[in-house]
């Protein structure tokens, strides 16, 4: 869907990107992960043509973007950035309606669309009349995401959209966005320097160091990363632990208790909890297995340390 072939971008004597190639298949959320100033945002701006490559080609839908109408290309790509970027003189409705209005949708369609999107990002519909200055950080980012999705573009470009939020809010929005993405299956390029964010959201992670791509794979692929010091350092020694928050209990549990004997004390966990929560409970209670419930006290299986290991190494989710 999006393909960059040997793209180089130079600013005067600084090379922001060197021979950069990357492909994002349709329906995949690819996280571009790297430290600040490594050229992540440059990649996004090259794709929506805010800047032009010094050399190399970029294709969207197998079409070279040099040959495409810039305005139409941009209107087909939702764009969300850090600290919302909402227009302060437009209320929530008008902010979401920007691209649909540019595309000359009729009023009734825009109304429907705005209502749908507000529901999708879990904002009350009576927020429509509010100005960005009246919104909290989290609410503003929700509107930002809704605005990016407004004209139902096949592609989303997201430049650290949750970067300015506090940890709790950030995690909430990540989970909600993950849900939305599973439902809508957009082709997403998501830029961040936050490893946990990448783990939570990514189908694929592309790790960058300044100016170049160093590795590409699914989040689980990076557990076994031994060869490249740079990647190990950047992902952190606790990468495996962070990865646990990507999986939910339901995905790794088994029907039988693999520990064999029934434990003397039984602790329970719901199937929707993350695996990291499950491990945390096991450690704090001093047990090797937990009963998994369906949320209504009904036991549907067990989770053990064995299950967790198996789940992470064999079963990349889906």
């Amino acid at each position: 869907m999006i393909k960059l072939v040997k793209v180089t971008k130079k600013y005067q004597d600084i090379t922001a990107l060197r021979n950069f190639s990357l492909e994002i298949p349709k329906g995949v959320l690819l996280v571009l992960l790297g430290p600040s100033g490594c050229g992540k945002s440059t990649v996004i701006k090259l794709i929506n043509t805010l800047i032009k490559p010094t050399s190399g080609e970029i294709f969207v839908n197998n079409q070279n973007i040099r040959e495409m109408n810039l305005t139409n290309l941009r209107r087909g790509m939702g764009y969300a950035i850090q600290s919302t970027g909402l227009f302060p003189h437009y209320n929530v409705y008008e902010n979401i309606a920007v691209v649909p209005r540019l595309l000359k949708w009729n009023k009734a369609d825009i109304d429907h669309r705005v209502d749908y999107l507000l529901d999708l990002v879990s904002l009350n519909r009576n927020y429509k009349k509010k100005l960005p200055s009246e919104l909290s950080g989290g609410e503003g980012q929700r509107v930002g995401v809704a605005r990016a999705l407004a004209a139902d573009p096949p592609i989303l470009l997201m430049d650290e959209p949750f970067g300015s939020l506090d940890p709790q809010n950030r995690e909430r929005l990540q989970r909600e966005f993950d849900k939305i993405q599973k439902q809508l299956k957009k082709t997403v390029l998501f830029v961040t320097h936050d490893v946990e964010e990448a783990i939570r959201l990514a189908d694929k992670i592309a790790v960058m160091k300044p100016g170049e791509l160093v590795s590409l794979g699914s989040p689980s692929d990076f557990i076994a990363e031994d060869e490249q010091e740079y990647i190990k350092d950047f992902l952190g020694t606790d990468y495996a632990l962070k990865l646990l928050s990507r999986f939910i209990v339901e995905e790794v549990m088994s029907q039988e208790n693999s520990e064999g004997k029934e434990p003397t004390k039984v602790f329970r966990i719901t199937k929707k909890s993350t695996v990291s929560t499950a491990l945390s409970v096991m450690i704090s209670k001093g047990v090797k297995s937990l009963e998994v419930t369906n949320g209504e006290e009904k036991r549907i299986g067990f989770i053990t340390f064995e299950d967790i290991l198996m789940g992470i190494f064999t079963g990349e989710k889906k």
């Binding site: 929506n48 290309l73 941009r74 600290s83 970027g85 302060p88 920007v98 100005l131």
Partner: protein, 388 residues
Amino acid sequence: MEKPGNKVAVLGALIIALSLLFFSFAQYRPNRVLSGTNVYARGLFGNGFLLLLVLSILTLVFAIANNKQHQLMIGFFSFFMAGSALYLLGTALEKDVFNQIPNGRVSLGGGFYLFFLGIYMVITGSFKGYEKAILQRRLFYLAIFLVIFIFLLSGHLNQLSIMKEFFNRSSTFFRQISRHFSLSFFSVIIAILAGIPIGVLIHKSRRRNNPILFLVNLGQTIPTLSLLGLIMVPLTFLGERSQWLRNIGIRGVGFTPAFIILIIYALFPIIHNTMAGLRMIDQNLLEIASAMGMKANQSFWKVQLPLSLPVILGGIRIAMTQSIGNTILAGLIGGGGLGSIIFLGLAQASPDLILLGVIPLVAMAFLLDLMVSFFIFFYRKKYLGMTL
């Protein structure tokens, strides 16, 4: 705790009280030009003096306490003091003392003006800081203005010397006011129509030393009066060459040169604020606008102009106030306006005549300023969700 506005309000209340006690509120002169005797508030207002004094001291106390709950009280006190001072003044003027000699004149003294300055300061100082207070402040200004206006219309103050000057030349007076207004108002309108596009163009060209900007800055540094002299030369030249040009008003003196100079002066703040307003816009927003597929002109009309409008309006506000002051100089070259009355007053050494020109001038500047700032206030509140 130090609260904002405290000092100004206290000083204002102090000035009110002091003006009542120690400054001459009016001057009584046997005729128009002879110097006169001072009359103090105590003598002029009789028992009303005590009422005013008590009110001013209460205001002072409230101003020192600077309690939010008393804010409205201070406002109403000030309003009431202004109203009653005018009423008492009019009543006092009816008294025989002032009407013994047929040509006797009573003019307002320094104390009277100080008194109103104090009231202005009290209101300015008390209502400060948050949105509702600023709205209330402007409403109190407006209310006091209306009271003054009503007293003037009612004829209650007709015995004042300045009113007599007014009746002596009321037809010229109104003609000059409207001339003054149209000179300053329409020059600003033209400056707006020209200045905003110029500002936008300079901003877009991104050149530091833009020649247009250089010219406008140069115009600003030349004193108004000299510019007036400078522009008279080419206009006289043109007017002498062509009868047609002379017919449409291109001459060395009169309306046209004054009008041109006023436009040049009004251009400066408008161009500058347009540029500043555009420069202040968050670059991220412009990037977002184009990333969402807005074309350059859409980005300008939908994002840049609305976001810089409060700053541009600020420039218009400055231009408007300045222009009203600058228009006085039109009086010097036969352009008319309140300047003619003021310069006539200067020539005749008649303070009342000068004031007859100055007071409407101040009122006009004040009201227009109030109007534009109301507009900015509501624009910011409605579209940007902020007011300060």
